[in-house]
């Protein structure tokens, strides 16, 4: 399929990535090439084929619901670019 700049821009917005105009230009062309290549999959008959999202025959792995060691909040926060007390600081969310 053909992918236009608006579609790439929208996907970038969904992915929360800011693209400079030059980047958008280049990326749109590259994604077009990649999608053209991927389109060869349309040749295959996939009727009645089940999808494989995971190769192991295991599902719903559960564990006992009991307390175990967890990270103290100083350690959880140690890599935060901005913090205050025991909180991560982010820009204002509610206007």
């Amino acid at each position: 399929m053909a992918i236009d700049k608006e579609t790439v821009k929208y996907a970038a917005h969904l992915a929360r990535i800011e693209l400079k105009p030059k980047e958008l230009e280049k990326l749109s062309q590259q994604l077009q090439d990649i999608l053209d290549f991927i389109d060869q999959l349309k040749k295959i008959d996939i009727k009645d084929i089940l999808p494989t999202s995971h190769i192991l025959p295991i599902n719903n792995v559960l564990r006992e619901d009991c307390p175990r060691e967890s990270l103290p909040s100083e350690k959880t926060l140690m890599n935060a670019p901005l913090k205050e007390g025991s909180f991560f600081v982010v820009p204002k969310v509610i206007e």
Partner: protein, 488 residues
């Protein structure tokens, strides 16, 4: 007797023997490896943050019961090491110090290994096949410094090849252990999906990837697999199947083993020198008593397009966590009160991710987005089923499959950097093993006329790593390739 300062040349199993006889100390090994790094890493650039090397992460335990007994190991920059920078060679994880160890690191420490503080270079978030996508710049192939070492575990493979590491860990999502091992003339193994815990491996494509060893020879690979394999309650995709002693598979006998040679791997696109060398290797296995037959993996040509849908879709989701809040880089001017939250995310991710990372995240977001999900993602999952079934069929009549690891020898730095699609095709022989979850190993099988190493790939049934070790060891013991080292 190897001089103290040349201990870096030895394999882990040779060092274990010397340690057990108390001929050497672990400190001597560590000093020797560090001296070697100081000597040659300015040329190879296998390590990142090499200035941190002076310090050692953990003091190795000295009890003889611990198999690795203070032997240093080099770790790829996407495997979490408590308190030691782990940045996936990305700007967005700059300065990140994990508050915990990955399960494989915990197991290595329990086995007595010393974790080197400098980690090995990689393509950013393992996105690449050449290690050129690293925020820190490329690694150079020890056999030809103008060539790439392969990727994404290029730093680990180059470090082992240049004897700057006794052995190393990498990760393999589409060939990222095997292809660099082939390009650098060392041994690299991708375990069966679920064999090794992924807990603490910074996720790229969760349904495809495994951590695995990169080593100087097959025996070291088996030793390392003994240490890192096994069920882990912290990784719900790790499987509770008993781990055999892999070193016992090395008995130099492959008589009667049935090898499948897939015809789809020996067609257009395969370099003629690589083809000849791989065919000679197959003849060698025949001489050693293996039976072989031509087989067909009819969906081989679809592996790369399927991979670039599934891997990017999973990457797009996994990398959503890098948003400038919990760790790593946050774009300047997006602090307390500036702009809104979404603007902060966008600026941080726009600046923090490199070109290939942005390309993959956006592609992955697109193939999962409303209106395209069925046409791309769902179709890819279905073709994945067909690719897996191809292997199931062959393993009904063959014990293993043998192929070249990569269609070409190492290429020049910059040669494919401008064309992502061309780069993706470099993984054409390795990707299927990830899509179908089977184990695969790459071992050295010769050199081109220009002196670049070539790798032979062996693939086996799920959880039959023993077959890989058996065939690889027999081949290795009857060929000289693993003893030839690059001149640096």
């Amino acid at each position: 007797m190897v001089m103290e300062r040349e201990l870096y040349k030895l394999t882990a199993h040779e060092l274990i023997e010397k340690l057990n006889k108390v001929e050497i100390t672990s400190q001597e090994i560590i000093d020797s490896v560090k001296n070697r790094i100081r000597e040659v890493d300015s040329k190879v650039k296998a390590y990142v943050r090499v200035e941190k090397l002076i310090k050692l992460a953990n003091s190795p335990t000295r009890q003889l019961a611990n198999i690795l007994n203070g032997i240093p190991i080099s770790i790829k920059d996407n495997i979490c090491t408590e308190g030691l920078n782990t940045e996936c060679c990305s700007k967005i994880l700059g300065g990140f110090k994990p508050p915990y160890d990955a399960t494989v690191i915990k197991k290595l420490k329990e086995a007595g290994a010393a974790i080197l503080e400098a980690k090995t270079n990689m393509d950013e978030f393992a996105f690449g096949s050449s290690t050129e996508n690293s925020f820190f710049g490329p690694t150079h192939n020890p056999w030809d410094l103008e060539c790439v070492p392969g990727g994404s575990s290029g730093g680990s493979a180059a470090a082992v090849a240049a004897e700057e590491a006794i052995f190393a860990l990498g990760s393999d999502t589409g060939g990222s252990i095997r292809q660099p091992a082939a390009f650098c003339g060392v041994v690299g193994l991708k375990p069966t999906y679920g064999r090794v815990s992924r807990y603490g491996l910074i996720a790229f494509a969760s349904s495809l990837e495994q951590i695995g060893p990169i080593t100087k020879d097959v025996k070291d690979c088996a030793i390392l697999m003994n240490v890192i394999s096994g069920h882990d309650p912290l990784d719900s995709t790790s499987v509770n199947i008993e781990v055999p002693d892999y070193t016992k598979s090395s008995h130099n006998d492959i008589k009667g083993i049935k090898i499948g040679i897939p015809k789809e791997y020996f067609i257009a696109g395969l370099d003629s020198e690589v083809k000849t060398i791989a065919e000679e290797a197959i003849d060698k296995l025949k001489d050693l008593g293996a039976a072989y037959k031509q087989v067909s993996l009819p969906h081989t040509e679809y592996a790369v397009p399927v991979y670039y849908i599934i891997a990017t879709a999973e990457a797009g989701s996994n990398l959503a966590r890098f948003d400038g809040v919990q760790y790593g880089f946050r774009a300047q001017g997006t602090g307390h009160r500036a702009q809104g939250l979404i603007d902060m995310y966008k600026a941080t991710r726009g600046e923090g991710f490199g070109e290939e990372a942005k390309r993959r995240i956006i592609l992955g977001t697109f193939v999962l987005s409303h209106g395209y999900y069925d046409a791309y993602y769902m179709r890819a999952l279905k073709v994945r089923t067909l690719i897996k079934q191809d292997f199931d069929e062959i393993f009904k009549e063959c014990d293993c499959i043998v192929t070249p690891t990569s269609p070409t020898p190492a290429f020049k730095i910059g040669e494919k950097a401008a064309d992502p699609l061309k780069m993706y095709l470099s993984d054409i022989y390795t990707i299927s093993a990830n899509l179908s979850g089977i184990p695969a190993i790459s071992i050295p099988c010769g050199f081109t006329r220009k002196g670049l190493p070539i790798g032979l790939q062996i693939l086996a049934k799920p959880f039959d790593e023993e077959m890989l070790f058996r065939v690889a060891y027999a081949y290795e013991q009857n060929t000289p390739w693993h003893t030839i080292k690059p001149k640096l």
